[in-house]
């Protein structure tokens, strides 16, 4: 029963854009729109703080994407985010909101470092493979605990995964400073070095390590898992309506555990990469907030693993620019935090717009 001048615009839009196309276009337009709104809001914020928004954006672009060095800076920061975003994105399919990526990274990294120390004479490939495996299993178990608590004891998974983060960090600090401490690592308690030959190398021609490849592969595989397999389909059903899924005979508990395990494995792999590509040891720097940044990436990407990749790059770029913002514009480091917060809020707010386009469509065809 549409009609009247108010709906003219809607009619035009709905007639101009064929239905299938705009269904695919909708998320893209909304995200782009949200990001634009965020940029405007952030520009306003920066202006109030006394800097020139245009210059700030130019600096951010230069620092994030302006030169080959900037690109590498951005990509190296995006790499762990691709993996830790999966910690939040995959359980999201099941309707769970898990923020335990930090814990998975920490436990996975610690596990991987310790695993490497048990095989001092093995060839590097074997060591790395073992590290990856142990890291993934450790991280996977850690996150699965949250899932299990949710399914079997109805404990809210957001809070439990958060508490497990803190506990994981305490466990890491305790073990690294006492039981597994390398006596040589005096002023920075760490585990023993895994050996230079066992470190992950750089992608030839760049200063990026292979961890970036791990991230990309993981995201692609995750997408495949959730969108092209029966398992993924079942998970989505369970996420949409638990009751209906149970009636349909789906093993909801098992789905939850497996998805959480896979998600945690991704985080654990990120931890392993931190150890094997950068530090060579496990210590308190594993607690680097990659997990928390991953939450933001997952939400902006709306849990879609393919979208996680570009969003991680975007976020990596934003974070990469913080240094130059400090030096060129005297803006404090927290500026980037504010921008992330604004983007996050606007994106979440835009959730309400999804589906509105198809509503417009229906109204138009009166």
């Amino acid at each position: 029963m549409a009609g009247g001048r108010g709906n003219r615009f809607d009619q035009i839009v709905s007639m101009a854009v064929p239905k299938n196309l705009h269904k695919a276009l909708e998320p893209f337009l909304i995200i782009v729109g949200s990001l634009s709104v965020s940029m405007v809001l952030f520009g306003g914020f920066v202006a109030v703080a006394g800097a020139n928004p245009i210059e700030v954006y130019q600096t951010m672009y230069r620092a994030a994407f302006g030169t080959s060095f900037s690109w590498q800076n951005t990509l190296i920061r995006a790499a762990p985010l691709m993996l830790t975003a999966l910690c939040t994105a995959l359980p999201g399919y099941l309707g769970l909101i898990i923020i335990g990526g930090e814990g998975a990274v920490v436990i996975g990294g610690l596990g991987a470092a310790l695993a490497a120390l048990t095989m001092p004479t093995a060839p590097p490939m074997v060591v790395l493979a073992t590290m990856a495996l142990v890291g993934m299993v450790a991280g996977g178990i850690w996150l699965a605990i949250g899932g299990a608590l949710r399914h079997y004891r109805a404990v809210n998974e957001t809070i439990s995964s958060l508490l497990l983060n803190y506990i994981a960090i305490a466990v890491l600090n305790h073990l690294v400073t006492s039981t597994f401490r390398d006596p040589e690592s005096l002023n920075h308690p760490s585990t023993h070095h895994i050996g230079e030959t066992n470190m992950i190398g750089l992608i030839p021609g760049t200063s990026l390590h292979w961890g970036l490849a791990f991230g990309v592969v993981a995201c692609v595989l995750a997408w495949f898992l959730m969108h092209r397999t029966v398992f993924g389909f079942a998970s989505q059903i369970a996420g949409g309506n638990v009751r209906a899924a149970q009636i349909a005979g789906l093993p909801v508990g098992r789905l939850i555990l497996i998805v959480c395990f896979v998600a945690g494995a991704a985080g654990g792999l990120a931890g392993m990469v931190e150890v094997a590509a950068i530090h060579g040891r496990a210590n308190d720097t594993l607690n680097a907030n990659y997990g928390y940044a991953g939450i933001l990436v997952a939400f902006v990407a709306r849990n879609n693993p393919l979208a996680i990749m570009p969003v991680a790059v975007l976020l990596g770029g934003i974070r990469a620019s913080s240094g130059l913002l400090q030096r060129a514009h005297e803006l404090p480091d927290a500026t980037v935090l504010v921008m992330q917060g604004i983007i996050f809020l606007v994106i979440l707010f835009s959730e309400t717009l999804f589906g509105r386009f198809s509503k417009l469509q229906k109204q138009g065809v009166a």
Partner: protein, 378 residues
């Protein structure tokens, strides 16, 4: 002999005037580091925490501000850079985008692996790290270390503390049981026991460099145990100092001068004097001198200092503290002179042995001296 650091071709080729006339103090590189009048020494500073934390990072920032005032220096800084790959990128960014010629990554954890990874890629840039880790032959030639023996200041502060305590119990709020921290605790206690032989130091480790609530709790627990002078080794002593003032006990400071935070109770403190270090480096670079790979010093070299005494500090305590300072100044003081036992009764330094400040053995300290109540094990 420290190797020389040749400047970039650009600067060499520019070669105008200026510096030749100024003091040709030894070792001027023959390539003629004549700075063009408009050429400035570009120094980049990297801090791990906020630059105004009334503590570790602020001490470095104050040093940077001092050197930035020189009109032939362009100094820039970045704060809150974590000890992950981010600092590598920050260093590279400062070199590539800001043209830094010398970098000062000031946090301990920046050295291995970050500086060691980036420095070889930029052999013409100097990477000067705060912390005494440089080893000749093992580390790249364009890397250097500087550190101050602030435990000398803590020794003097310990004398004042030991002299002013009524209960004979001192307290130490520490972040982590690593050698640098343990050395401070031990020097403090040795200093206190030199004026009051039976006093003790209770140590509480908070677990990390900046945990305000835990530091406050630790201070309160120590005061509850009857301790009446407290010092600390955390990134920002602000909480500990204000808590001591509130509980009405004495305190001695660390990193910077915190007398404003505790006007009644601040007896004295151990401070860094990074301004001198940075000015010296800037000067050396300007003159084209070989920059030594290792710069270390204590009270005598002026890298550290002791805060002014509070007016309540008694005359006899002042005398003893000043006497110790004088001995540091003329080089005759040895803090770690045997016999020294640790707090489990084990003899760690036999009677005939002594370790001077530059002795590498001290850098791997893992024990607490007799009189300290606490353990290095977590």
């Amino acid at each position: 002999m420290a190797p020389s650091h040749k400047l970039t071709r650009r600067q060499v080729l520019k070669g105008t005037a200026a510096v030749g006339a100024l003091g040709l103090l030894g070792g001027l590189d023959w390539l003629g580091q004549a700075w063009a009048a408009q050429d400035k020494v570009k120094m980049g500073f990297i801090f791990v925490g906020p630059r105004d934390d009334y503590g570790y990072n602020q001490a470095h920032f104050e040093g940077k501000s001092a050197v930035a005032k020189l009109d032939w220096v362009k100094a820039f800084d970045e704060e809150k850079v974590p000890e992950t790959i981010e600092v590598q990128k920050t260093m590279e960014s400062m070199v590539q985008l800001d043209g830094a010629q010398v970098l000062f990554p000031t946090s301990f954890g920046y050295f291995d692996p970050h500086i060691l990874k980036v420095a070889p890629q930029y052999p013409n840039i100097l990477f000067l790290h705060c912390g005494g880790l440089y080893q000749e032959g093992k580390h790249p030639k364009n890397v250097g270390s500087y550190f101050g023996y602030i435990d000398e200041s803590q020794y003097v502060a310990g004398i004042v503390a030991g002299g002013m305590t009524k209960s004979g119990k001192l307290g130490f709020v520490a972040a982590k049981p690593i050698p640098q921290v343990l050395r401070n605790i031990n020097s403090y206690t040795l200093g206190a026991r030199s004026i009051r032989p039976n006093c003790t130091t209770n140590v509480i480790f908070t677990g990390d460099w900046s945990l305000p609530v835990r530091e406050a709790e630790a201070t309160n627990s120590l005061v509850d145990q009857g301790i009446d002078v407290i010092t600390c080794h955390v990134d920002s002593p602000k909480v500990v100092m204000t808590m001591c003032e509130k509980r009405g006990i004495f305190c001695t400071g660390y990193h910077c001068n915190q007398v404003k935070l505790a006007p009644r109770g601040y007896l004295t403190g151990a401070e860094w004097n990074w301004a001198k270090v940075y000015m010296d480096y800037a000067d050396m670079i300007r003159k084209g001198q070989k920059v030594p790979n290792l710069v270390r010093g204590g009270l005598k070299e002026g890298l550290v200092r002791v805060s002014d005494y509070n007016q309540v500090v008694t005359e006899s305590v002042r005398k003893q503290a000043d006497a110790a300072k004088a001995k540091f100044m003329d080089g005759s003081m040895v803090v770690y002179k045997g016999p020294i036992k640790d707090n489990t009764g084990r003899a760690v330094i036999p009677a005939d042995k002594k370790y001077v400040q530059t002795d590498y053995w001290l850098e791997s300290m893992d024990w607490l001296v007799e009189g300290v109540i606490g353990s290095t094990k977590s």
